[in-house]
């Protein structure tokens, strides 16, 4: 070291001190150099550091300080001027930086300090919030527990269950060690341990009710901390550990048995139970205020729950009952109303029906009366009017044959004409009424069409010849001989039409033509509404009757077929028609699905009556037995039993004759006997059938039969024996069978019956019975 202007006297450098200084400086420098390194290292590590500039500054300051101390090492010994220069520079820089740093730190340090305070503040706040949240959570839990408890309670009615549930829930909510309920006894002098949480079957501990601690609890509505040593708290056997805090609260009781609906039960009954709650013994838990509040609330409410629940249930049940009743009443009312409506409706309907009934009855009676009157009328007509009238006709005609003066003759003629007219009228009216009734039905049967025309001709010829009219009949070759229809009415129609022609013609000729209507002729322009349709088993018969009489004017033609209508021209005729004939014909023709009309070119030009009717075509006549055949008279065709020799034994002359007539009609060769002796004498093997009457007393027909049987030993020679009897007694039949007769017929015998009997007999040789 050179000269230095020191105040103190110079002292020679001490080696030891110098050594220590040297070392210290070295270490200081080292430390000073390492600090920024550390700083840099840690700042780099940390994410946030807002004071980088400070760091740089500080780093520079430290580095320079370190450099200074480092350079100081060289100044311990003799050092050059360079070193001194460096040292000085370093020191100057260090001074500058350190002053700057010092100045800067004035700003920074308060900031840093405030950061620290804020940090502390935040930490406190966080701790506080944590606490509060814990609190809230607990409260929420508690609330949930209470709700669950309430729900549990509400879902049960049983008081026992409610209380037990309360304890359970409370225990769970508050994490209790034990929870017990002491109920007052009936006497009211003691509290009995009724429910506990942990212990299943609480033994019936009792404590007197008037203990001071109990009184204390009962007198306050709050939960009261009590000593664990208290009798009510000594529920469990004493454990090793210190029992936890115990709290007791009163539970107001309500008389649940006497309930009036309108009276809310007073809480002034002042009966309480005691609920004791114990915290776990080995925890340092304390009763918190909110927990106590919960306990108080629960205690207060539990019986109210029960009561309310009961009340609600009761009210609900009453309400439900009332509702049910109401509903059923309404139902009844509705039913009754509907019944009433229906009843009213039905009564109205019934009244209406009754009215209608009465009206209908009246109408029916009137109709019946009318019908009866008509029937009576018809009956009278039928029986009484016809017969005397026919007598009049017959006798008048006979009278005409006798000797008469001209005046008498005229009178008789008039009588005859009038009665004929009357007769026709009556018949026509009778027929017409039946036609109008709709009661007239055609008597369908197979008949000989040719015969009908021949018959008409036979009937009309006498009159026509008298009037000197020439009548001709033309039957078309394709006209079938037999047809199915109503023979009688067809004849009536033809007769009527032809009769009219004869009646209204004074001279000339009448021509009748009949043929099968072909399809092209079926449609007539004059009768557009008539559309006949021929088919396989039907044909249309067309009959035209042309006369050369007075004719009819065209305007009168439509009136012809209306009943009772008389035209001027018809009135002039002598033998006027009643006006019914054509009307009836029209009806008949309509019934036969046909059509009738009259054509005339005018007065004096004659007229033509044309009608078409539908007739059936009978089956081929090859078949041996045809149901319609019986109508065909057998006297026209081959006889049924030609030459069959029969013997008839009958005492009664008339009866004998009738039987003979029957058999002769059938073509038999009949021998008649009137006694059994004669019969036995006459009978021979030639006779094929013997008819004997067995109903005459005194004549033993049976005896004869036996004798005949004896006479003809061989079966094929013996004639068939048939009994004729008038009675239907079984004994007769048995007798006949007994004596060996072959058949029995009941008298009187019709032609058809006789025919069928004979054919059966001859075929089968036996017939029992044709009654």
């Amino acid at each position: 070291m050179d000269s230095c202007n020191c105040i103190e006297p110079q002292w020679p450098p001490d080696d030891l001190l110098m050594k220590y200084q040297y070392i210290s400086d070295f270490f200081i420098a080292l430390a000073y150099f390492s600090i920024p390194l550390e700083l840099i290292y840690f700042v780099k590590k940390s994410a946030v550091f807002p004071y980088r500039w400070v760091l740089v500054q500080f780093g520079a300051f430290i580095v320079l300080c370190g450099a200074t101390h480092l350079i100081n090492l060289w100044t311990f010994t003799m050092h050059t001027r360079t070193v001194a220069m460096v040292m000085t520079t370093a020191k100057v820089f260090t001074a500058v930086v350190s002053c700057a740093t010092a100045l800067m730190l004035v700003h920074i340090i308060p900031d840093l300090l405030s950061v620290k305070t804020r940090e502390l503040f935040l930490k406190n706040k966080a701790a506080e919030l944590d606490r509060e949240m814990g609190l809230i959570r607990t409260q929420e839990e508690t609330g949930r527990h209470v709700r669950m408890l309430t729900h549990e309670i509400r879902s049960t009615l049983d008081r026992h269950t409610i209380l037990k549930t309360t304890l359970v829930e409370l225990g769970r909510t508050l994490a209790l060690e034990e929870c017990a309920l002491w109920m007052p006894t009936r006497t009211g002098l003691e509290l009995q341990l009724s429910y506990t949480l942990r212990q299943q079957n609480p033994v019936g501990y009792t404590v007197p009710i008037h203990l001071p601690v109990i009184n204390q609890v009962f007198s306050s509505s709050h939960a009261v901390k009590i000593s664990p040593k208290c009798p009510v708290a000594r529920i469990r056997p004493a454990g090793k550990y210190m029992p936890g805090e115990v709290v007791a609260v009163r539970v107001p009781l309500l008389h649940l048995s006497n309930f009036q609906i309108n009276d809310w039960p007073e809480l002034s009954t002042k009966r309480y139970a005691l609920m004791v709650l114990m915290l776990p013994s080995d925890s340092a838990r304390q009763w918190h205020v909110h927990e106590l509040e919960l306990v108080e609330v629960v205690a207060d409410q539990v019986t109210k729950f029960v009561a309310l629940r009961l009340l609600h249930m009761f009210q609900i049940s009453m309400l439900l009952k009332a509702l049910d009743l109401y509903i059923s009443i309404m139902n009844q009312v509705a039913v009754a109303l509907s019944h009433a409506a229906i009843l009213e409706e039905s009564m109205r309907a019934r009244d209406l029906l009754m009215e209608q009934n009465v009206a209908l009855d009246l109408a029916r009676r009137e109709a019946e009366t009318a019908i009866r009157a008509r029937n009576d009328f018809l009956a009278v007509m039928n029986h009484e009017m016809r017969t005397p009238m026919h007598a009049i006709i017959a006798l008048s005609s006979l009278l005409q044959e006798t000797e008469l003066t001209p005046e008498q003759r005229l009178m008789v003629e008039t009588i005859l004409k009038s009665s004929n007219l009357l007769s026709t009228l009556i018949n026509d009216v009778l027929d017409l009424s039946r036609l109008e009734d709709g009661s007239l039905q055609l008597d369908l049967g197979t008949f000989n069409l040719f015969a009908v025309f021949r018959e008409v001709l036979n009937l009309i010829k006498p009159i026509a010849s008298v009037k000197k009219l020439h009548v001709s009949l033309n039957l078309a070759p394709d006209l079938p001989e037999y047809a199915i229809g109503d023979e009688k009415r067809l004849m009536q129609t033809i007769l009527n039409v032809v009769g009219n022609a004869v009646k209204f013609s004074k001279e000339g000729s009448i021509s009748i033509t009949a043929f099968v209507a072909k399809s092209e002729l079926l449609r007539d322009s004059r009768t557009p509404e008539f559309f006949p349709v021929p088919s396989d088993n039907h044909f249309y018969l067309r009959v035209q009757v042309k006369d050369s009489g007075v004719g009819i004017s065209p305007q009168d033609i439509p009136k012809l077929f209306t009943k009772f209508a008389q035209t001027q021209s018809t009135a002039t005729r002598n033998s006027g028609g009643s006006g019914l004939g054509l009307a009836i014909c029209k009806r008949f023709v309509n019934l036969m699905e046909g059509h009738i009309w009259i054509e005339s070119e005018g007065l004096g030009k004659g007229c033509t009556a044309i009608f078409m009717v539908k007739l059936g075509i009978p089956e081929r006549l090859n078949e041996p037995k045809l149901p319609f055949m019986p109508k065909v008279p057998t006297n026209h065709g081959p006889t049924a039993f030609p030459g069959l020799k029969v013997l008839v034994m009958d005492e009664n002359g008339v009866s004998r004759m009738v039987t003979k007539g029957l058999l002769v009609h059938l073509g038999c060769d009949v021998t008649m006997v009137s006694s059994s002796e004669e019969c036995l004498r006459v009978v021979s093997h030639e006779h094929k059938v013997v008819f004997m009457d067995v109903c005459v007393p005194g004549m033993d027909g049976y005896e004869v039969a036996i004798r005949i049987n004896e006479k003809f030993t061989k079966c094929h020679e013996r004639p068939i024996i048939v009994a004729l009897t008038g009675n239907t007694e079984k004994v007769t039949k048995e007798n006949c069978m007994r004596v060996g007769m072959d058949g029995i017929i009941l008298k009187p015998v019709s032609l058809d019956k006789m025919r069928s009997v004979l054919s059966d007999l001859l075929e089968h040789r036996v017939l029992f019975e044709a009654i």
């Binding site: 039928n382 029986h383 016809r386 017969t387 009238m389 026919h390 007598a391 006709i393 017959a394 005609s397 006979l398 005409q400 003629e413 005859l416 004409k417 004929n420 007219l421 007769s423 026709t424 018949n427 008949f447 036979n458 009937l459 009309i460 010829k461 006498p462 009159i463 010849s465 008298v466 023979e487 007769l495 009769g499 004869v502 002598n574 033998s575 109508k631 008279p633 006297n635 005492e651 009664n652 002359g653 008339v654 009866s655 004759m657 009738v658 039987t659 007539g661 029957l662 002769v664 009609h665 009457d693 109903c695 005459v696 007393p697 005194g698 008038g726 008298k747 009187p748 019709s750 032609l751």
Partner: protein
């Protein structure tokens, strides 16, 4: 000769005499059957049978009348026989009312009731005359029609 007589009406009305008879029950279907037997071979069959019947009937009725008048005692057996005969005849010809009267008569004769029998006999006579009347009219009509050249419609 028939002057202006409506033969048609006559013939037409002829058909109704037997109808009327049948309607009134004087004859029944058996009579119609007999009429069916008339044909060209036996054109007067019905008339013949009827004549026979009339003879028979009159005889029997007379017999019965005599028998019932017997003072010493009525021979009911004979009456019974007569009734039986008459019944047979009347049923053969189809005289329904006569037959029914016979049946009624029989019950009285079985009971040997003289009074009843007399009444029945009277009834029987009455029925018989009625029938005879009708039939004779019919036959006369027939005769007249045939004589006039007409023909009788046959019954089929």
């Amino acid at each position: 000769m028939w002057h202006g007589i409506d033969m048609y009406s006559l013939v037409y009305s002829f058909g109704f005499v037997p109808c009327a008879c049948e309607h009134q029950g004087i004859v029944d279907d058996q009579f119609t059957q007999l009429r069916k037997l008339e044909d060209e071979n036996s054109p007067h069959f019905v008339m013949e049978v009827a004549s026979l019947f009339f003879e028979d009937c009159e005889k029997l009725i007379n017999n019965m009348a005599i028998a019932l008048e017997q003072k010493q005692g009525v021979d009911f057996k004979q009456i019974d026989e007569c009734i039986h005969q008459l019944k047979g005849s009347s049923s053969s010809i189809g005289a329904m009312r006569v037959k029914n009267a016979c049946i009624a008569f029989r019950s009285f004769s079985d009971g040997q009731n003289r009074e009843g029998c007399l009444r029945c006999l009277q009834q029987l006579s009455h029925e018989y005359s009625l029938l005879k009347n009708k039939l004779q009219t019919l036959f006369r009509l027939e005769k007249e029609i045939v004589a006039a050249g007409g023909s009788i419609p046959r019954v089929h």
